[in-house]
């Protein structure tokens, strides 16, 4: 039989993590919920909703107190009809996995059923709603998880959300000479197959300047 994490372990770990967060951020106005997936084994996960100002404090707490060691993905979403308080949203998905370095010629073989406490894998979802406007911005957590680095680059590149304090921000999926301010996952851009005026105001490219002009190649 394959080893596995049981639903009981998962529920207990989600509760422990949520209690810990609720105690630390008691009066900060952060929403902490335990929700369950409706597919697969219907496991619980912790969803945190916080403001951009609180995000770095939450991230540090997750990393150093709760052992969250993996930044899985960063998703930016544009809500042109979302109202003044929620014109944009950034979702961070984080995982905690029991991964530690091993000595040479040894290995760690976890038995899922016997894991306890902070070793139990857990999934965290952080929502950061941003006010409507032309310059959505959240603090970067590039220095907390190295894995957030390219995820944030991608989110800026495709959605146009700025990450304050992110070093070496540049285009990763779009061409590096895409016009400044062109972020294709924003809602004003429609998919058009035969009319590329939609993509570039200047289809001939006479005035186009690469956004990373002057960068050392």
């Amino acid at each position: 039989m394959g080893t596995t994490i049981t639903k009981e372990q998962n529920t207990a770990a989600a509760q422990a993590a949520a209690d810990n967060l609720a105690e630390r951020f008691a009066d900060a106005g952060i929403t902490i919920e335990i929700l369950a997936h409706s597919a697969g084994k219907k496991f619980d996960f912790v969803r945190i909703t916080c403001s951009p100002d609180q995000w770095r404090a939450v991230a540090k707490h997750l990393k150093h107190e709760l052992g969250v060691n993996h930044c899985a993905m960063v998703t930016g979403t544009h809500y042109p009809d979302g109202g003044a308080d929620r014109g944009w949203e950034v979702a961070y998905h984080l995982h905690r996995w029991p991964i530690k370095n091993v000595e040479a010629h040894t290995m760690t073989v976890h038995e899922g059923e016997s894991l306890e406490g902070d070793d139990i894998p857990m999934e965290f979802e952080i929502f950061i709603p941003l006010a409507a406007g032309d310059s959505p911005s959240v603090p970067s957590v590039q220095d907390i998880w190295v894995g957030a680095d390219w995820n944030e680059k991608e989110t800026w590149d495709l959605v146009g959300i700025d990450f304050e304090g992110h070093e070496n921000m540049h285009r990763v999926l779009n061409p590096h000479d895409s016009p400044t301010g062109f972020h294709p996952l924003q809602r004003q851009h429609k998919i058009r197959y035969h009319d590329f005026n939609e993509m570039y105001d200047d289809p001939q490219g006479f005035d186009r300047k690469p956004v990373d002009e002057g960068r050392v190649k």
Partner: protein, 379 residues
Amino acid sequence: MAEMWITMGPQHPMTHGLWTLRVKVDGETVTDTEAELGYIHRGVEKICESRDFTQITPYCDRLCYVSAMTWAHSYVMAAEDLLEAEVPERAEYIRLMAAEVQRLASHLMWLGAFGPDIGNLTLMTWCLRDREMFLDLLQELGGSRMHYNYPRVGGVKRDIPIGWANRLKAKVKLFENRIKEYEMLLDESTIWLVRLQGVGYATAEDQIDAGVTGPNIRAAGVNADARWTNPYSVYDQVDWEPAVEKPTSVKGADCYDRYRVRMEEMRQSCRMLLDAIEKIPGGANTHYQPGDEMLITKAPTRAPEGATGFSTYECTRGVSNFYLQGGGDGRGKNPYRVSIRSPMFITIPYVAKTMIGYKVADIPAIMGSFDPCIGETDR
């Protein structure tokens, strides 16, 4: 000595796809690197916003043509989370078997492409020969060699054909012996060992911090595997254990460990397949008609506004995630947002940095040992 930048790619055998590695060298030593991606960015996330939940599956197949089945499976799991669909147990078993056959095919493609990197051309022909056996099995399910469009939200498209189980058993048993042949070919080859051992060290903690997952992290001595840490499907009911390798140094796993862990993973997939074919509810040689309740349940086609779906899936190259948002009535049957995490998108920049300090000649060995796939990287 003067340092200079060399551009490897986008057309270079080392890249296994289309991307550029810029290498700063001091003589033969790599002193800095920079990865440039995006050459085959197709805007899948944007396209998916104008497709309904069923129409998205073929796009997910095309994220990585080497492991289409696992990507489609990963997507339908997120869609099931969003739409609250139940999956029949027989369908879960079929999906598990399809994904594991795909894992064998994908690892064989990796090994076949990795061989010529190291100077072993024989390996390419051997691996593609064996991969064809598994592609034939998948073709019987999905109808085409590479892009199957087989999993559905709530189940699978059709049942396994009569006789598929017997062919699967015969091929897996044959392949278990073939793995030994590969090991005789490779583990006793001095060139193979000299090129792989002692280069490309990466520790477990460094890798997980950088977001590297899957076989690469299991090579560093930890059995972290989303098939048991974030369990899905019926992996808790079949006989297997996560492949894991003892790293040969305190500096972590080298290229040889990453090769070994994938060989072991293929063995585990074989073991899983042979067990699953015995345990499948309804029997392996029964054929249910498409749409039967053993295969698929009816799933809602519209997602309410504010609903989200998320999946964590052990793809062949690491953990893939899908994150979907429902859009309510205004969006019809389409999702509001589809976001995809590709394991290789995170891994390639990390691997580029691990090359610093090694020789230029080690670059193909290090890069190839992490199993890059550019289709899923650029999306």
